[in-house]
Amino acid sequence: MIEEELVQLLSPEGERVTQADYESTLSGDEIFSFYRDMVIIRRICNEGTSLQRQGQLALWAPIQGQEAAQIGAGRALGPMDFTFPTYREHGIAWCRGIPPVDWFRLFRAVSNGGWDPQKYRHSVPTVVLGNQALNAVGYAMGVQRDGAEEAVVAFFGDGASSQGDVLESFVWAATFNAPVVFFLQNNQWAISEPSSLQAKIPLYHRAQGFGFPGVRVDGNDVLAVYEVTKRALEHARVGGGPTLIEAFTYRMGAHTTSDDPTRYRVDAEVEVWKHRDPVERVKALLVHEYKVKKTALAEVTAEADAMALQLREDVLAMDPPDPITMFDHAYAAPHPLIDEGRSEMIEMGISGGSH
């Protein structure tokens, strides 16, 4: 039943699937570049887990299993589109051109942000589940008022889909016909809670009740995610209103490095999803259809390894900022309590390395 509802262009075995509504528009070179993106973010995210295990990060939220969902969506974005992520959108950050080291500032606990959100058109991570969906719709209402042909994407997961903010954002988006795409990665688990606890219907069905289209795409199929997202973005840009995309995927690893999934899910389930791996199926397509050579694939792996190594160096070099920076940008305008705090810190010799 669920399988039939999925938009899929590439089977888990890497064979093309014909769909009535969608077809892949990507060239072999483009698919290869998607493959490269996926390999790199998987490698970098695995490095994140290692770094946390070695005590170098406060936390890490791995992405493994969701590479196709994020690279497919990320590569579909137009340069002027604006995105509102959670804390797990490393693949989107990669596609927006944000240097990987910047994704790690939050997890190294040296910043609560990490990059210039206006420069990259990718907002800072939102940790409170669902808040960003409303922020995205508000931003989209601004786009509307500017008469701009831009789309906005709100990213969230199956867990956050139960939040009032997400459901309110659906109401707002529908009422104001906001140019927003809701990109829901249903990775089946909200920490220990299965998606069946969040919804008794397929999550994309919810869109209909709010008055806009919903579509479920195979979130492990980068070709399908790309086409579905591209169309929804275009629909939003030209005034068509919101779309809910449910990328049906699986979190292969733990929720975060603080989590132990062996306590709540069975190995057999993970095994099933291993056969649907998003990276392997693109590799199969590249090898069989485009005759991509092993050496080319190995070059990508080597490139990813080199980037992970560089990232490791950059993260290890990432020192906590001077304590006095905690007062920077707490307010935009002068504030007496900020001045007071700064002065105290300087008098106590805490700041500026003068202690």
């Binding site: 907002s123 800072v124 508000g138 008022r145 109401v171 940008h329 307010y331 935009a332 309590l337």
Partner: protein, 326 residues
């Protein structure tokens, strides 16, 4: 100098109108603020003049009203949000505390979070439950926010405009019970800065600080006290976070006695902060402990009882007796 007499409600309306004329990026959003002009008519006629794109009738979800205003701010708009009543701000609490207050910081100063959350507050209108509360302390304690309150028409007219022009998010507390009271409004010159307190009556024996609806009560108490030979200096705090301590310090150094008046309960309140700060900064000037006259530590009572809950002239005078007799 052009002055005119108008109610506080009309002054807010005119202030919003002027801000919208000055800056096309200023939007209003809230429940029933369009055709109806808001349940208190603060936005009366504005949708007709500025259109539905700038005066937005919102679906009924406070978290979304504030949450979308955040997104609009990121896009470069300045949204003045109307929360219909004090007791309905809590669904928006998460967005206010988690996003409004923190996004300027989290974006390293890139996002301008200039937005205004208008909050009708305090009691005295004989309403049913959830329509008379004083939630200002929740916001005053949150770093990243500023909280102000007007007590008269002239301040209403100017403070709303100053709040809209300000680059930090502002919780703008409007005393509902004073909406219909008339006052002189100077249309040319702002009386003072947004975060400055005002001495409303000079006196020599006791400094009484309050804000919003309490001001009128305090001034009545001061008139009565004068008849009894006690001189009260009355300060309108205006800015609840940050507090204008300099004005209060100058006063307490003169009077040596301090009373803070508010409708919210005592505990961890704006009044607590005033008393604590002045105890620390004016210790040797004080001749008696600073005390608070507040609402009681109970849920806001059914409003047939509210005049026994809100600080009254009698309760303020009783506090005056206590600090004078210490």
């Amino acid at each position: 100098m052009a002055t005119t007499t108008m109610t506080m409600a009309k002054a807010l309306n005119e202030g919003l109108r002027r801000a919208m004329e000055k800056n096309k990026k200023v939007l209003l959003m809230g429940e029933d603020i369009g055709k109806l002009g808001g349940v208190f008519r603060i936005t009366d006629g504005l949708q007709k003049d500025f259109g539905e794109d700038r005066v937005i009738d919102a679906p009924l979800a406070e978290s979304a009203i504030v949450g979308t205003a955040v997104g609009l701010a990121i896009r470069g708009y300045r949204t003045v949000v109307e929360i219909q009543f004090d007791g309905f701000v809590y669904p928006a609490f998460d967005q206010i505390v988690s996003q409004v207050a923190k996004l300027h910081k989290r974006s390293d100063g890139v996002y301008n979070m200039g937005l205004v959350i208008r909050l009708p507050f305090q009691g005295g209108i004989g309403a049913i439950e959830h329509h008379s509360e004083s939630p200002e302390a929740y916001f005053a304690q949150t770093a990243g926010l500023r909280v102000v309150s007007c007590s008269n028409a002239n301040d209403a007219y100017w403070m709303i405009q100053q709040s809209i022009e300000h680059d930090d998010p502002i919780i703008f507390c409007e005393p509902m019970s004073r909406y219909w009271e008339k006052g002189e409004v100077d249309l040319d010159n702002a009386p003072q800065g947004l975060f400055d307190a005002a001495v409303r009556r000079e006196g020599s024996d006791v400094t009484v600080v309050g804000y919003g609806a309490s001001l009128k009560t305090i001034l009545r108490a001061a008139a009565t006290a004068e008849g009894e030979g006690v001189s009260l200096e009355v300060i309108d705090a205006r800015s609840l976070a940050p507090l204008d301590l300099d004005t209060m310090i100058t006063s307490v150094q003169k009077t040596g006695r301090l009373i803070a008046v508010q409708e919210s309960p005592h505990t961890a309140s704006v009044g607590s902060e005033i008393v604590a700060e002045l105890s620390e900064r004016c210790f040797y000037s004080l001749r008696a402990p600073g005390i608070r006259v507040s609402g009681y530590h109970v849920p806001y009572p059914p409003t047939r009882l509210e005049e026994d809950y809100r600080p009254t002239v009698d309760r303020i005078l009783d506090a005056v007796d206590r600090v004078m007799g210490f």
